[in-house]
Amino acid sequence: MTTLAGLLQRHGGWLEAGPEEGPVISSRVRLARNLRDTTFPGWASKKIRNRVWNDVSLAFEQMPDNGKFLRWRMDELTSLDRDLLFERHLISRELAEQPSGSGVFVNEDECRAVMVNEEDHIRLQSLQPGINLQKAWAVADELDNELEKNLSYAFSSKLGYLTACPSNVGTGLRASVMLHLPGLVLTQEIKPVINAVSKIGLAVRGLWGEGSEASGHMFQISNQITLGRTELEMIANIEQIVQEVIEHEKNARLRLMEKQEIRVHDHVGRAYGILANAALISTGEALDLLSALRMGVDLGLLPIVRREIDRLFIRIQPAHLQKKGNVSLSPEERDIRRAQLIRNFLKDK
């Protein structure tokens, strides 16, 4: 089994530079697929679940770049390791809680991951830096084609790819863009924006926490409808709406700088002051303050590389802190290490 500690030495390729990487963190495409004539994971016996895992493993072995995919079965991992994969956006909370036969295949740069036996037999994801759903789709589509060479999917000409939940039927596509929207939160315009986006059939969720209270001011916009349109039409629709949200965010920031420049400086400066000096800091507080720092970088107030902050968003999470220290830590010990990590990061800035 490949060691998970290796992941700590690097960051996901989706945290490299990307288009519109100011307000946009990353783009993601997920495809849900199921095997023909096979009970869905939620109702399947242990024997069937294991057979599905073996079938998917075989399909990977037949692929030209099989060697580049790492694989982990959930029943072979500690809960800390499962949390680590979750914090790196490689698996869902649901997969982490699944019994035997569930697992994940991850390629080297962490831009592609295939969950096996989550809600569906296969949940394939493709992540790209910045706004680039087209590329994310192209990569997912290609991986899907490779897998399909050795797997028979459950498919109907009327309903498309058949999924455990009818809300995913058809394309099985969930395309989402992760956005950093502190300008809209500070100007209190986030609620109307969320409402407007929801009204046109897209979903807006906080990455950490719900609604306008989302920690770190990180939001995900995704499609809800998966049937009746082509994948490219769905993606184009999301990209168009996301571009509009980006415009709103940029305008909000401009207005903040025009009308309340001193307050913006104060907001960013205080965040920096606390992060550079705190001896104890919770995840939630750190996310909010790093969000302010990130906006400061976007506005040219701080000479820090934006993507280094983005990577910090992941490195300060509980499982990452514990895996790095190779110890189990109490919440207070974690707050100490988190504060230390951030202080060290800011020392030379």
């Binding site: 869905f40 109702w43 084609n145 809800q224 409808i225």
Partner: protein
Amino acid sequence: MKCDLCEKEAVVHLTQVVNGEMKEIHLCEEHAVSQGIDLNSPISITDILMGLNGPQKNLAGELSLVCPKCGIAREEFRKTGRLGCPDCYKTFMAELTMAIKAMHQSGQHLGKIPAREGTQTRIKSKIAHLQQELDAAIAREDFEKAVMLRDQIKLCREERAPDEKGDKS
């Protein structure tokens, strides 16, 4: 306001807008609970639509439909909103069709087709795409285009017909 399933006063009121049309569901406390609605937690409209489609009265003693392939009963999937296997789509088609249309505002897949699918599936898909274009052409009163599309659909159907006798792929 009375419950949609009985004569009692409704206590749960749900509204969803589908294709600009307002859809309302009203339930009494007893039926809300029997439809699996936890009155204390937020609910998904998906679950409600799944539960309320098909036979209107979900009374005790109603014959339970069970998927012959995986053995999942209608009640189980209504409760969880999750199907048991790909065949469940056939078994529960009657109640799924409406729920799927309400969720997706469509009942026809227009996306990717697995490479393994036969020519029949591809032709069916082509017809579905042309039909969508035809509907759009009629809606904007472009009858010249509509006639052209109708002829194309006819050709596709003819192409499909000879195969249908032998090849069922």
